[in-house]
Symmetry: C2
C-alpha cells in the first residue's frame, strides 16, 4: 500500500489598471499591455465580447475599438466580428450565450496565447470569463468592467460563472484574468441605480475590515449619491485594493468554508432570485447588509448608535433597505437562502456578522426568530425614513 | 494612469495511492483517506460516476461499493444513485453526459466539500473531472483509473476535458484531483488492446527523459506483452512518478507554449480522429512515437541503431506502427494535425523530437516532405515485420 505524493504551486499575477478613455487614440495603455505580454513573435488574436447595453450607451465604441488597434496591427489582430450579448442577469441565464462565445473562439481560432476581452457589467464579465476559462482549458481573458460594482468588486477578482436551471452561479470556475482595465469614462453613462448599486460592496468590505474606510464612505455619502466623480474614483480604487488584498492574503480559490466577503450576501442572493432579478445585486446587498447589521445588534455585538450609522449611510447613499419579499410567506423564501448559501459553500454554515464597525466575525448558525425581528425592524425603519 | 498589482500562489497537493481490491471489505485505504480529509464534523457526500464497461467487467462492483462504505456511514454518505456512463471516447462526445453529472450534483446537493469519484478509463475520468470542475466552481474529485493508460498517465495528472462539435478536448480545465486510487485489480479485466495501449505513454516519457527507464521497458517488453502483472506494476509506478514530477517541476497549468509530454502526439491526436476513434489513444501514440522517432533519425539526431531499438520495442510490445490513414490523400489529413496542434497549444508550433534515447529536444517546424518519407518507411517496416 504505497503512494506517490504530488505538490506544486501555481503563481497568478495580473494588474488592475485605472484609466479613462481606454480606446482613445492617444491612450497607449491597452496597446502597451499587449506588447509587453508578447512571448514570441507570432501575432496574437483579440476577440471582444461586449454588453449590448454598453454599445447602446456608447454608439461609437465599436468604431473606436477598431480604430484604436489599427496602429497595433503588427502584433495584434482584432477579430472583426465583435460579439454583442445582452448584459444583466439574462447573460448568465441563457446557455446559448456560452455557446455563442465558445463558437466564436472556435471559428476565429482563438488559442491559449490569444485573448478574449469582455466589456460590460458583472454578469457579462462572469459569462465571458467562464466561456474563456473552459475553452482550450483556458484562454487569456481581459476584463473591462463598465459598472461601479464590477470595477470595485467582482471584475477585479478571480471568479466567473453562469446560472444553471435557475441556480445562481451553479457553473463556474476560479480563473484570474490577465488584466483588468477600469475605465472611468464608462461610469458617466450609468443610470442612477447602476451608479449607486456598486457602492454597497464598498460599504460591505469597509464594515468587515476597515473602520477608516467606512468613515470615509459615511462622510462622502451625499457626494457619492450626487454622482461626484472624484469621490467615486477614490472609493473604487480603495475597494478594489481591499478586494485584491483579501484574495491574495487568504484562500484565493476558496478551498475552505470561510467566505468573509459574503457579508450580507446570504439574503441578498436569495432576494435577487425571489424578485426575479428586478432588484440589482448591489441593491440586494444593501438590504442584506442592513439585515445582518441589525442581527448583529440583536446579538449585543453592535451598539444602537453603530447600527444607526450603518443604516443612515446606506439610506444617504440612496438605497432602500426593505423589500416586501423579505417577509412574504412568513419569510419562508428568504430563510431558504440560508440553507442554499451553506450548500453552495459546502461544509457547515458560515456567516459573517459585525462585532463592531470595521470588524467582521464569523458565526455558524443564525436564529430564524431573530432574523424575522430584524426584518420587522427594517420595514419600520424604511417607512419612517421614506418621505 | 495608475494600477494595482495582484499576485498570489495557489498550492495543490494530492496523493496517488497504489492498491488492490480498493473496495475489498478489509482494505482501509479509501475510508481512511476520507476520514483524514474531514475538515469539520459535518457528514460529507460521495457521488460515484462509473464507466459502464467497468460495471460489465466487474458485476459485483456496485454492491461492493455500497457494502464498503456501510462501515463509514457516520462521516460519509454514499449517494445511492450510482451514475453509470458509457466509457471510451463517446463519453466525451455527448454533451448530455456533462449535464447528467451536473444534474446529479444538483439533485443530491453535492457541495464543494463533498466528493465526486470517477471509476473508469481516461475518457470517463476526463468527463467527470470536467463536470466536477465546473459545478459550484469546483467540487472535490477523486479518480479511480481502471486502465493502464489512465493509471500511469492522464489519470494522475491535472487535466480534464470533453470534445465539442467533434473537436477533441475543446472544452476543459486544469484542476487537480484530491486523490487518485490506482487499483491493480481493475487491470486484470482489461482486454489485450487496453492492457497494451497504455504502455506507449511510458515508452514516450522514457524516450524524452530517462534512458534507464527505456532500457527497462526494452528488457521487459516480452513480459509486458505477455501480461506479466509485476512488470506492469513497476512500469505504471515509474511512469506515474515521472508524470507527477514533470507537472510539479514545470508549468502545471501549461501557461507557456511548451508541452514536452506531447511527444508523438501531434499525429496521434489526428489519427484518432481520422479513424473515428477506432484506434485507441495509446495505439495512436505508439504510431506517433514511431513517426517522430524516424523523423528525428532523418534529421541526423538519432542513429539507425537507436531508431531500430525504439521501433523493435514498440513492435515487441505488440503495437502496429502504421495505419493506412497516415498516407491517405497524400497525407493531407495527418498533416493537418500539425496546424491543429499548434492552434490548441497556442503561440508558435512547438514539437518534441529525440536528440537521443532519453533526451527530447523541441523544434518549431517540421518538414512535410520528411514526414512523408517517415510515413513511407513506417509502411515498409510494418510490412517487413508482419508475419
Amino acid at each position: 500500500m504505497n503512494h506517490l505524493h504530488q505538490a506544486f504551486s501555481v503563481r497568478f499575477t495580473y494588474n488592475v489598471f485605472f484609466t479613462e478613455q481606454l480606446f482613445g487614440h492617444t491612450n497607449p495603455l491597452f496597446g502597451d499591455f499587449l506588447k509587453q505580454q508578447a512571448t514570441d513573435e507570432t501575432r496574437k488574436k483579440l476577440l471582444f465580447v461586449i454588453d449590448s447595453g454598453v454599445v447602446t450607451a456608447q454608439p461609437t465604441l465599436l468604431a473606436d475599438i477598431k480604430h484604436y488597434f489599427a496602429q497595433d496591427a503588427d502584433f495584434i489582430e482584432v477579430i472583426d466580428d465583435l460579439v454583442i450579448i445582452p448584459g444583466g442577469e439574462d447573460a448568465k441565464n441563457e446557455p446559448a450565450f456560452v455557446e455563442k462565445i465558445v463558437d466564436a473562439v472556435d471559428r476565429h481560432g482563438i488559442d491559449r496565447h490569444s485573448y478574449v476581452a469582455a466589456i460590460g457589467g458583472g454578469s457579462l464579465l462572469d459569462l465571458v470569463g467562464y466561456a474563456a476559462a473552459i475553452s482550450h482549458r483556458g484562454i487569456r481573458h481581459i476584463r473591462i468592467p463598465t459598472t461601479v460594482l464590477s470595477q470595485n468588486d467582482s471584475g477585479v477578482g478571480v471568479k466567473n460563472g453562469v446560472n444553471y436551471r435557475g441556480k445562481k452561479n451553479f457553473l463556474g470556475t476560479f480563473v484570474p484574468p490577465v488584466a483588468v482595465f477600469n475605465d472611468s469614462t464608462f461610469l458617466t453613462t450609468l443610470d442612477d441605480r447602476d451608479w449607486r448599486s456598486g457602492i454597497s460592496e464598498a460599504v460591505k468590505v469597509a464594515l468587515i475590515k476597515d473602520t477608516q474606510f467606512f468613515e470615509e464612505i459615511e462622510a462622502n455619502a451625499q457626494a457619492l449619491a450626487a454622482r461626484d466623480a472624484a469621490a467615486m474614483q477614490t472609493l473604487i480604487h480603495r475597494c478594489a485594493q481591499m478586494h485584491l488584498d483579501h484574495i491574495a492574503s487568504g484562500d484565493p480559490f476558496e478551498m475552505g468554508s470561510s467566505r468573509p466577503l459574503d457579508f450580507g450576501h446570504w439574503s441578498a442572493h436569495k432576494l435577487e432570485q425571489l424578485t426575479n432579478f428586478e432588484i440589482r445585486h448591489g441593491e440586494a446587498v444593501a438590504i442584506g447588509i442592513a439585515l445582518d447589521t441589525l442581527y448583529s445588534q440583536q446579538l449585543g455585538w453592535l451598539t444602537e448608535a453603530e447600527t444607526n450609522r450603518v443604516l443612515t449611510t446606506l439610506r444617504t447613499l440612496g438605497f432602500s433597505l426593505y423589500h416586501p419579499m423579505l417577509d412574504a410567506n412568513k419569510s419562508a423564501g428568504i430563510l431558504k437562502g440560508l440553507s442554499e448559501f451553506r450548500e453552495h459553500l459546502g461544509g457547515k454554515l458560515t456567516i459573517m456578522l459585525l462585532k463592531r464597525i470595521g470588524l467582521g466575525v464569523e458565526v455558524h448558525e443564525m436564529d430564524t426568530e431573530l432574523i424575522r425581528q430584524a426584518i420587522a425592524t427594517l420595514r419600520k425603519y424604511e417607512l419612517s425614513t421614506t418621505v
